[in-house]
Symmetry: D2
Amino acid sequence: MSLETVNAPLAGRHARPAGTVVSAGAVEIGGPAVVVIAGPCAVEDEEQLLSTAREVKAAGARVLRGGAYKPRTSPYSFPGLKAEGLRLLARARAATGLPVVTEVMDARHLEQVIACADILQVGSRNMQNVTLLEEVGRCRVPVLLKRGMSATLAEYLLAAERVMAHGNEQVILCERGIRTFEPSTRNTLDLGAVPLLKRHTHLPVIVDPSHGTGVAWMVAPMACAAVAAGADGLLIEVHTHPERALSDGGQSLSPGEFAALMPRLAAMAAAAGRSLA
Amino acid sequence: MSLETVNAPLAGRHARPAGTVVSAGAVEIGGPAVVVIAGPCAVEDEEQLLSTAREVKAAGARVLRGGAYKPRTSPYSFPGLKAEGLRLLARARAATGLPVVTEVMDARHLEQVIACADILQVGSRNMQNVTLLEEVGRCRVPVLLKRGMSATLAEYLLAAERVMAHGNEQVILCERGIRTFEPSTRNTLDLGAVPLLKRHTHLPVIVDPSHGTGVAWMVAPMACAAVAAGADGLLIEVHTHPERALSDGGQSLSPGEFAALMPRLAAMAAAAGRSLA
Amino acid sequence: MSLETVNAPLAGRHARPAGTVVSAGAVEIGGPAVVVIAGPCAVEDEEQLLSTAREVKAAGARVLRGGAYKPRTSPYSFPGLKAEGLRLLARARAATGLPVVTEVMDARHLEQVIACADILQVGSRNMQNVTLLEEVGRCRVPVLLKRGMSATLAEYLLAAERVMAHGNEQVILCERGIRTFEPSTRNTLDLGAVPLLKRHTHLPVIVDPSHGTGVAWMVAPMACAAVAAGADGLLIEVHTHPERALSDGGQSLSPGEFAALMPRLAAMAAAAGRSLA
Amino acid sequence: MSLETVNAPLAGRHARPAGTVVSAGAVEIGGPAVVVIAGPCAVEDEEQLLSTAREVKAAGARVLRGGAYKPRTSPYSFPGLKAEGLRLLARARAATGLPVVTEVMDARHLEQVIACADILQVGSRNMQNVTLLEEVGRCRVPVLLKRGMSATLAEYLLAAERVMAHGNEQVILCERGIRTFEPSTRNTLDLGAVPLLKRHTHLPVIVDPSHGTGVAWMVAPMACAAVAAGADGLLIEVHTHPERALSDGGQSLSPGEFAALMPRLAAMAAAAGRSLA
């Protein structure tokens, strides 16, 4: 099934040719400005989260990311701080004014996650978790729906369609790398997904170059390329001490690296006829 | 991460070198005999389910499959009969004596599914649904865990490890086709997964040639090949009227085709030094 | 492009519904009997080749394989003995009476290869080497055309069509593993290719479980599965001292392992209604 | 094998940390300026080639591409004008002053191709055609080596290493899309290959968004993204009448579309701290 033939009456571009703008607090995703979302992969402790939040805000990030519930591959990996992580995110939001995006991985956690988050992330592993999609579809909070590891774009659009069909039209799509035969990187970032999705849906499309490559030094060139390809935003992992991170340290930027990247992204956005939010 | 390096203290072969036998009623999966599980993709109505159940039992199937909750790609596809489908499965079980395997796609449905099923199926889309794995791990009912569409074998083993780490050691693995570049079939059945998994885990390994190919006429040769490769069982879709099926009709055998296949499988099992259960 | 839509007037099944039998000496490939081709990946020296040839013949192999020209990935890997390797193959053929299959990787070598070989192998890397396909198409020697590493089956059929369109109808197809995301094995053996190709072309289809897995202990189960899936033959690497092999030792069987496999293959062939040649 | 572990003493970045600049006539590829190569997929006739050449030159292309020998998947597809196509390329070069890149697919054609071309293209299907790589390695003409359809980056680097090991250090790499499970496009353009290759080799790296997507409207965004990712050049198909093209019309830009793209590329190059050549 290709994007040309998929049946998505709500998510399809024709349903809203001018495009959808998703709002989280004062931040608009899908409008003329490119939005940078940044923060640690996982919330680890108050000091780590707050100092990262302040640093990324100072550098120009408009939304804070941080995982409290972490759906890891191994049952023995750090699972996130869970409810305590959500509390720390709420505190970081209060301290910085940044809206927060965090993952919800079980419908039974929705109430507590919504209390602390401005955008609900549905992760790659749950892109086809039907009942979770339906439940976030019943919420009135924006949803950041990540592409499944090997989802076709038509399947991805249908996952967004499912959320919308349950009433929630505030959906943001996020390309985060697909699985291929290449052993040099964790994933292969599929930037062609950006123009393809922008053509076939009215929903905003952002890119996660951190998971999309798994390699910190590749984040900068691929973030620039994502903006050039037409992405509406970026999701970038930043950690005050990447070498000590409890998850995904190898793909996290330091605050300094992140601050150095922002002017490059601004230049790219300008070259693409846009600006950084 | 390869199977050589994965850390799976519970699921790894070394934990139980003689292998695990999973019991569902009088049926043993993982023992010397090859077990055939058969039935419709989705439970559609009582007549369809009961007549299919009787036909597959007569032909030698030892477990009945049938989907009540169907996690479909499109929100507009038939979602299964849900609770009503479970009731029909219980009735078919009572009528035929066959143990039943059916999918559970949400932890909140577990109680009602367990009431009607002997084996809980976790589907491909939910192979990394962490909380669902944990909840079925807390049950005392065997779990048939299908491989994710593009899961590496190490990731797959770790999903089984998660179920076991929560207390449930009755896990059956099921290769069901992976995603590749080939457009002629729905999936590419990865039969190499059978000997690889058998070497690296003590859990039973079965094969689903119906989803693994998506093409009814390929089920027979691939089912034979699966037995030759060392599979402990098969999961085969059978529908009394494949051309009228509400889902996956194109890959379903008719009862007559299924009955014709069984002696071929018995011959293959014998050639492999085993028997059909 | 799928096998359903590909335009292959010469190679398509409809062109010769009864199937093609390719003859090499007294050996028929594509007839009722399953043919085992065996030998070392590369010809290394006379002693290695002759003793392997004698051992595989004694165990029941009907054709000898051995690489004289080796198209390696690295320019620093052993490139084969070239012309000297061909001479050794001719000597092994004379000593054992086994027909020989060896790779030709350049049209300029055709004359010398044909002088020493009964079947010309075109390797995976050259499946779309257009002029080489055309030149072997002008020969009157059978061609064993290996599937490209990521060739779709339609592309594969069109490569065979090209050979046939230049006059040579003696083409044998060989599935040898495709490239996927799985890191535990060198390739993923695509056994579904066997029934698919058998349905869509009249050409014989064999399987190479040695390259298809890259792991010696997987050769036996996958060779059995290939026969069960309907393969017309097998291509198996055997080396007198796998641990000292100059190429692909990790996937080579010892003569003893090969001899132990043959009765299992015979049992599988019998269960499939065939025999070993 | 990953780029971290591959043994490429000649092609590896350490061998020439400052990077290699490949010269074709007055054009330098791999220097500070981004070079645009454009022209038709196949040379079809004098009028088509000359008018396309004049148009792309006027719009800022610095090298003319055009296929005379076309290695097509089907033996029944247009194979190119061959020697006559080479003559037309030489004429277009004389008329416009643009250096010419064209594919060589057989070592036996090298002499005639070199007579008409400034850069020898080795196509994707021949990335592991060992003897062709060795023969172009013996030439003193730059080589544009396209990545194989499913080549890992380490394999790709080793193909370049083979050319260099035979004496020719003037090698340009070209990412042109890889094969994945996505049916919406012909290939998936792997832009992460650009920074990865630039880090691990000193050779220039260009991108072919025409083959990389197979869709004309995607060429512009992906060309921009390629420049943002750090590409040293672009290879873009332009045809005076895409709808009448004998090959790959669906991915060709019209001269007007190409002319409209060039200022966008210039802006991107500037934002990346470079310029268009």
